[in-house]
Assembly symmetry: C2
């Protein structure tokens, strides 16, 4: 078989310029989140296929890169598949026992279920790692990408939400982002608004899928789509009237609390207001936090507050999260309060690359150009000079001098080498 | 399907204590290698199956985690497989188009072939990332593990070897390792010794596999095994006589140069001696570099100098590398000089864990214990105090006070929190 030079479809080689920004952002993430008391953890990239296919991952479950069984298990499975194909009833899942994780939340829940005894309570986790989705490749979206999640497990109060949002916005401020918006809602508010309007619980998901398009198709578009779907005009009118009247602030929350009455669980409105006030009072970056009753967040596992970062510059979400109090119970039979915030690492790196972000310099970069065939004893002198400079934190790149020295220097300048030292055989 | 709490077979969840060490070592690696002029790069974890199965990976090619094709391609492949199984001629490879990388060297070669125009020349790459091998699980060896490689591409002289060994040993010294040995050999020396003794080129690989056991079975054991394999007694005697007489130092190299005569390519002995002298002259850690004519290094892709780190403490190799001037040519048709050094990241972390290595502290760790049901305005005061301390670099973990406060504090102490602040509702 011929060797292939390109990466596999939809994945990318990362060049030094981008890596410099990635490494810098990773450093800032670790440093910032550490001050908020988060501990780094890691889960394997490969996860049981049973866990990946447990309906926790929504649409992502259709995008799993599945790993082939090995050895006898593969032979046996392939035999069965052979029969099934012949019968026209092929279930390819017999060929696989695992797959690449499509997010970090499911593995984290498994991790906590497996290791709770050895973890703090509450446990504040920072997880950075690649995830894979066999999505249709498109510009700026890749099939392997890095996720960066912080989660607080075992904390039932909104202290979790406040800390997660404060930590995330502090990080964004540190790496130069401003004027973004944290949109905040609560799955219970979403449901109460639907219930109040007369929708049936079984229809919530389709109603929310349409609602989620509000920022694209507007109030009229949502109206049209809901009516088309056959929902009672009365419900649709009542529903949209709520959205027409509500404002994206504390007053909006109060208005809904009053209007929805018993449809809304006690404390939900108050929690939204407290999160908004608290985050605002201790914020260290220039952003605003707004109530957004149209915020849906796709994943069905959310049980309480949900939030998303909107950035005009990007024209979309660069991160989000929420409370998922019922996922860990899927592993252990006992629910544990859980809340997480994931930043869109790849999008943030892309934005920094686009604005030609300069990573703060850490030490000089010097290139040593050494004439060809330098005798060993003289080469040792070069190496010793390099050693001294390196020990003081300078990056020293020793290279053999090329015929076209001017071009060589230009290349090195592109790599950030601003200083040059030349060593000649007969001048040492 | 039921959810599984344990990680997939042979892979592990990494707890905060280990992650602290891993993060620290990663930081030291990046910082140290940067001063040697290496640039971070990243390749996808998933690689073309054609590349992974190209005979560059030796035994590792038997251990690939293969990724199942998706969509129509899977349906079509499974159909063909069905027929083949029925015919008793199943080739399961039709089911897969890619796999998880088993090392970082092959992806690096593809990367360089794909991106050479945008990279420095020579190009000094630092690559850290997970690799996967479906090895039989055993204590301390996992099916997913981190590798950490530095490579210099485009440098034909031993400046590459000297820089790689100096960078690696400097790193090891920084994280507290000493009294280790760099064993150095050259594939050309290995071959010359075999040729001189009268072995045929087609037999080199089996001779070297036996030679590789020298440290376990000794000179007599190697003798016995070679004779058993049917090699001429005269060749075996002549071969072992060399090993009997050679010393693990510069004199040993000179002895071989003299003895092997024209069997040894010009410059090979001199290069070994220069590498040894240079590394020794600029070393900044307490280690020795020794010539070791029994060092084989399994991979067939090596073309020149090869080296390995021996650590008595570990009783084995904790890293190794060598020159592989012919791999990039497999992708481009044009060979590019290449040389790399890979440290055994997992082994190093294991050794540090075993000696209960204390990562240098970076800032205090304070836990705030807040009485339950703290009113919002008072909670804001707590959050503001935390903000100030965090901005000064202190890690602040805010937690709701538990009934068993003593136990809670003990737990937090285990997580490294040495200072506590308590906040009560009626004392704020």
């Amino acid at each position: 078989m011929a060797m292939k030079k390109k990466p596999v479809t939809g994945m990318k080689d990362i060049l030094p310029r981008e890596m410099e920004i990635r490494d810098y952002v990773i450093g800032q993430i670790k440093e910032t989140y550490k001050t908020f008391g988060f501990s780094s953890i890691e889960t394997p990239c490969v996860e049981h296929i049973e866990n990946l296919s447990s309906n926790q991952g929504g649409e992502n479950e259709k995008l799993i890169f599945k790993v082939l069984k090995r050895g006898d298990k593969l032979t046996s499975a392939a035999g069965k598949l052979g029969e099934a194909v012949a019968d026209g009833e092929a279930d390819y899942n017999v060929l696989t026992d695992s797959g690449l994780r499509y997010d970090l939340t499911l593995p984290l829940s498994r991790y906590y279920a497996n290791n709770a005894n050895e973890l703090g309570s509450p446990f504040k986790a920072l997880q950075m790692g690649n995830v894979w989705r066999a999505d249709r490749p498109q510009r700026g979206r890749y099939r392997q990408f890095m996720q960066c999640d912080i989660d607080i497990l075992g904390e039932p109060t909104i202290l979790a939400e406040i800390e997660l949002i404060t930590a995330t916005t502090t990080l964004l401020g540190k790496i130069g982002f401003e004027k973004f918006t944290i949109r905040l809602n609560n799955r219970k508010m979403l449901k109460a608004m639907a219930a109040y309007s007369g929708f049936e619980e079984k229809d919530y998901d389709s109603v929310f899928i349409t609602l989620d398009k509000m920022d694209k198709i507007g109030l009229d578009g949502v109206n049209e789509e809901l009516v088309e779907q056959g929902f009672a005009k009365e419900s649709v009118d009542k529903y949209l009237d709520l959205f027409d009247k509500v404002t994206p602030d504390v007053d909006g929350v109060s208005f809904l609390k009053e209007t929805l009455g018993d449809f809304l669980e006690e404390g939900v409105a108050e929690d939204i207001i407290t999160i908004m006030a608290s985050v605002d009072a201790v914020k260290s970056a220039d952003f605003k936090i707004a109530f957004d009753p149209t915020l849906v967040r796709g994943m069905s596992y959310y049980t309480g507050p949900i939030f998303e970062i909107s950035m005009d510059e990007y024209g979309g979400s660069v991160g989000g999260g929420g409370r998922y109090d019922e996922m860990i119970g899927k592993f252990t039979g006992q629910n544990i309060p859980a809340c997480g915030f994931s930043i869109g690492f790849e999008r943030i790196v892309m934005l920094l690359l686009e604005r030609e972000y300069q990573v703060p310099a850490s030490g000089d970069k010097v290139a040593y150009l050494v004439e060809k065939n330098m005798p060993t004893d003289k080469m040792l002198e070069v190496l010793k000079q390099a050693k001294e400079q390196r020990e003081s934190g300078t990056s020293v790149n020793i290279a053999i001098m090329k015929k076209n020295k001017k071009f060589q220097k230009e290349q090195l300048e592109k790599e950030g080498y601003t200083e040059f030292k030349e060593f000649f055989v007969d001048r040492m």
